[in-house]
């Protein structure tokens, strides 16, 4: 069974601070996606990483896929209150059936 461990589970920081969220597994994934979810809404895709070692940037967010495609990180620079939400990583299983395996999520609170 493929599992994704996300850490930390909760993070409360001040506006302007930097943070990193980790997503780790002992399994290899075809690709890994990061979603952001606001209360009362469904998750919205932020990025998909496919190639081992790949780095993608989305404004103040930097996503990295591990060389072995078993882990990923999300780094936010100068966090803002609008970044508050639940961040979920999801790996596409190796069978490529389209089923995603989700991590437990990281709840981020950015205080003004």
């Amino acid at each position: 069974t493929q599992l994704l461990e996300q850490s930390p589970q909760f993070l409360s920081i001040q506006e302007g601070e930097n943070l990193t969220v980790y997503c780790n597994s002992s399994s290899v994934f075809s690709s890994l996606q990061w979603y952001r979810q606001e209360p009362g809404e469904g998750p919205v895709l932020l990025v998909t990483v496919v190639t081992g070692g790949e780095v993608k940037k989305l404004k103040r967010l930097t996503f990295q896929f591990g060389d072995a495609r078993k882990d990923s990180s999300l780094h936010i620079t100068a966090a803002q209150p609008g970044d508050t939400g639940l961040y979920l990583c999801a790996g596409l299983n190796s069978g490529n059936t389209g089923k995603l395996i989700f991590g437990q999520g990281t709840t981020l609170q950015v205080k003004p």
Binding site: Q33, G40, G42, L45, T48, G98, K99, L100, Q104, G105
Partner: protein, 111 residues
């Protein structure tokens, strides 16, 4: 912008009632999914469908059932709701081994 809709958004019902959660998408996606999520927690796949007349159970056992008679419609039914079914139910669709687009969810409370 994804076009996937779920109704109702919120539902409070008594134990023993039969309920159907609706999910529709207008993107022509073949693959559709139902997830169960407790507040602030990960998503657990409970049902999925790869096309019309195709349904499979997901990784998390669920007493709910689904049907896929039309490409755009993937309703979920609970024959007899119980308090243990209280949760958020999220529907998603995709074209293939790629991005899943999520609906806004239905928050179900069973008293």
């Amino acid at each position: 912008e994804a076009d996937i809709y779920q109704t109702p958004r919120y539902l409070v019902i008594g134990t023993g009632k039969k309920i159907t959660l609706e999910c529709s998408q207008t993107m022509g996606h073949d693959k559709m999914y139902w997830y169960q999520q407790d507040p602030g927690m990960e998503l657990h796949l409970i049902h999925y469908s790869y096309g019309v007349n195709s349904t499979e159970k997901g990784d998390l056992s669920s007493e709910s059932t689904v049907s896929r008679i039309r490409t755009e419609h993937f309703p979920l039914t609970l024959e007899s709701a119980r308090p243990s079914h209280t949760s958020q139910y999220l529907c998603a669709s995709s074209t293939g081994a790629d991005t899943q687009y999520f609906g806004p969810g239905t928050r179900l409370t069973v008293l």
